[in-house]
Amino acid sequence: MIHTEHKDYTGSKLGMWLFLFTELLLFGGMFLLFSVYLVRYPQEFVAGGHQLNVVFGTINTVVLLSSSLLAAMAVSAIQRNDRRFAMLLLGGTVLCAAIFMAIKYVEWSTKIHHGIFPGSPHLVAGPPGESVFFSLYYLTTGLHGLHVLIGATLLTWVALKVKHGAVHSDDYVLLENSALYWHLVDLIWIFIFPLYYLIL
């Protein structure tokens, strides 16, 4: 019996977008919390934001925007069946992800070293608004960081599939969907950055 694989490009992409909407609502919940507590503790939130490093935040924003460019270019490359260039671009995207995580590591470890983490003596002794700000900061950037790791792993796996010829110009929805996931990671950061780092 001949088994023909069923491919559905439109259905596949639609399914991915529906999943992305659930991700939007997941992070949306965290932005909801942020907005409610910003209204309740405006001064503490501004003070909390002051303690975040704007330079690191801006660099990370540029890094993610650039990684998004590379991922989008990778889709165009595979559509042209330029597999080598697609692999190179995906590699660049993953490199950007690594830079982002390295900067995030520096940010987090510096904060933790200064005794600023959920439940720390310093935060427990301080105003409740400050604790809420940092709890939300760690939760949101932590979940976002997890998505960066997942996205980078996904793109690496797809790059290998391109290398082995499993993903090519006649069947590249896997790459396109992975790039969509990556753009979502970028989108979320586009909102995290001004809300946490720039409301001073």
Binding site: Y9, F31, V62, M73, S76, R80, I190, F191, P194, I199
Partner: protein
């Protein structure tokens, strides 16, 4: 089928790079504007620019400009849900 039409539309590297440059400019703008003393309006301006940036990412990087109407409307539904989700909460929060 519309799916096939979208499948074959290749966005040029030049166009993507141009969108990226605009995004970088908007990032610089956000940082610059929030250094000014606008008090309450600061968050509104920052969020507006963020919406513009995300609009560009969705339209060009995520190919929404070249997709069918169904996808566009579904995105709209998701965004409206989010707006109601956050907006209606404030009917409670603002009047406590």
């Amino acid at each position: 089928m519309t799916g096939d039409a979208a499948q074959h539309h290749v966005v040029s590297y030049v166009k993507l790079t141009f969108v990226w440059l605009v995004l970088l400019f908007l990032t610089a703008l956000t940082v610059g504007v929030t250094r000014l003393d606008l008090s309450g309006y600061k968050i509104l301006v920052a969020l507006s620019i963020a919406c513009l940036k995300s609009g560009l990412v969705i339209t060009f990087f995520m190919h929404m400009k070249y997709e069918g109407r169904l996808l566009c409307w579904l995105l709209f539904v998701a965004l409206v849900t989010l707006v109601i989700f956050i907006g209606f909460t404030f009917f409670d929060v603002l009047y406590r």
